[in-house]
Amino acid sequence: MTAIVANSRQERWWNSRTAHRFMSHHLALIGMVMIAVLTLACVLGPYLLPYDSLHIDLRARFAPPFTGHHYLGTDPLGRDLAARLFMAGRISLLVGFSAMLLSTLIGTLVGVLAGYRGGWLGTTLMRTVDGFLSFPSIFLVLALSAALKPSPMMITVVIAATSWMEVARIVEAEVRSLREREFVQAGRMLGLSGTHIMFREILPNAMGPIIVAATLTVARAILMEAYVSFLGYGIQPPLPSWGNMLNGAQQYLGTAPWLAIIPGAAITIAVTSFNFIGDGLRDALDVRGDHT
């Protein structure tokens, strides 16, 4: 029985054709390589450097890049900037990824429910999405992070809580258009449960847009974490993150510009890479490109 349904499904969201299209997308490849290198550096880097990211040495403060073994210089407490950059990368990338997973999960759930069920439930859910979207996201993030005790987990939750709406909208639209397709009708006639149809039949077909949106959400989550931590509301010291490394760097802009330039460059590289990948996926999966 399921075989019939399976046959009547659309193609899988990922197949050799999309794979080929993605691989021939140069930017996406570059993005993949950059993210791989960055992740590797953040994972292995701290083991290769002679300094600990938390070790304070006031005598060595404000050393410019390439002072001795401080390849990227030191910060105002004399901590090795390279070591901190890699440790910060772990945190920032982890927060970005986790926030993406969480917000995609919430967004997908809400979107599928609203799109498939429709009716008053759908309307309520989508009005709530509209309501959340009418807020400046920075307001919600700042307000929530002020209300909750800041920790990497909390920041992840806060960022996720304020970035799921986009996914919800995309999924809802997609599901609504898939709802009346033959394979769904067939499933319904076969007496499959609503949950089964929603998550086993419809969702796989809406995977393309979700994947693209998720990739772009990582990029946005990294930027958001950076800004919130830059303002001092995010990741707390001594734990480094790319954002909180920039906090205070403004003060030393004239005397120690590398403190501002290096972490910012890391953020830009990471975010650019995810945007490249997202762009590649969009082309490969043939998703309408309307959310930048």
Binding site: G131, S134, L142, A143, F230, G254, G264, T268, T292
Partner: protein, 316 residues
């Protein structure tokens, strides 16, 4: 048409209600509150703080505070700022001009540069320029705005000394030139993202036009490439251009928030952050409602326009 309008209007009102409730609750969820600014003043005793809390009406239950605020708002009273006692609408008005100036100039930059890049990219498709423009747009969308601003300040203010590091004008010098001098860096920083979006958009729009029949006809008629482009592409893209500029209106509150913070620009974004920092509830709520109303209005206008153009929507 009337039924449609009423329906949309009532939906908008519900949306505003949701926004106000969420905003009010979230704002009051933040511990601390408006009296925290006196926390370090040795002469403000707990008695004084309790007295002020009562005078500001903050000791009432939350729902009562909300209803009081909402009822006044319905009557057109937006309340008074806790900080300087001025009516909230006055406070917003005072900061609106600065933000509009900044956003206006950055929009002009974005449209000018974005149009040029977009058209050139489309007419020279797959050229080095097109490729660089694509990559550039992606990178521009990825740079953290606050960091880009910092780097700008470092290079152009601290190192080269060409541009001011912040503010809207020099005290005592109200000349347009002085404003312009201060506008350059923030508006370019703010325009960066919009240039990226706009150039991508223009590229697509131009490609659409180029492939259409009437352009081929025009070309066959012997019109120069340039004239065809100017006439048709720009003409066709004008409407979406206005829409895009209009779509920016609701983001008047936060669109420039980061830029205003970095460049100490006395606009709405700064006002928002300052008011949030002092827990100036009336002003924060006022700003939230102000931007929500803008969103609702813009959506409403868009809906109506679409409905007029496409009668099928009206029927459904």
């Amino acid at each position: 048409m009337r039924g449609f309008l009423l329906n949309r209007l009532s939906q908008s009102l519900v949306l505003l209600l949701i926004v106000s409730v969420i905003g009010f609750v979230v704002l009051n969820l933040i511990p601390g509150g408006p009296l925290a600014q006196f926390g370090l003043d040795p002469s403000m005793t707990q008695d004084d703080l309790d007295r002020l809390r009562e005078q500001l009406g903050l000791n009432r239950p939350l729902w009562m505070q909300y209803l009081d605020w909402a009822w006044r708002l319905v009557q057109g009273d937006w309340g008074h700022s806790f900080r300087d006692g001025a009516p909230v609408l006055d406070v917003i008005g005072r900061h609106l001009v600065a933000t509009l100036l900044l956003m206006g100039s950055s929009t002009v930059i974005a449209i000018a540069i974005g149009t040029w890049i977009g058209i050139r990219g489309a007419t020279h498709r797959y050229s080095v320029f097109d490729y660089l423009a694509t990559v550039g747009a992606m990178v521009a969308l990825s740079i953290p705005t606050f960091w880009f601003g910092l780097v700008g300040i470092y290079v152009f203010s601290l190192r080269l000394g060409w541009l001011p590091a912040g503010n809207m004008y020099t005290i005592g010098d109200g000349s347009a030139l002085n404003y312009l001098h201060h506008l350059i860096m923030p508006s370019i920083v703010l325009a960066l993202v919009h240039v990226a979006i706009w150039s991508r958009y223009m590229r697509t729009a131009t490609l659409d036009v180029i492939s259409q029949e009437f352009v081929k006809t025009a070309r066959a008629k012997g019109l120069s490439e340039r004239r065809i482009l100017m006439k048709h592409v720009v003409g066709n893209a004008l409407l979406p251009m206005i829409t895009l500029a209009g779509m920016q209106l609701p983001s008047v509150l936060t669109g420039a928030l980061v830029t205003e913070t970095v460049f100490t620009w006395p606009g709405m974004g700064r006002l928002f952050l300052d008011s949030l920092g002092y827990s100036d509830y009336p002003v924060v709520m006022g700003l939230l409602m102000f931007s929500a109303i803008l969103v609702v209005l813009c959506n409403l206008v868009a809906d109506i326009v679409v409905a007029i153009i496409d009668p099928r929507i009206r029927l459904s």
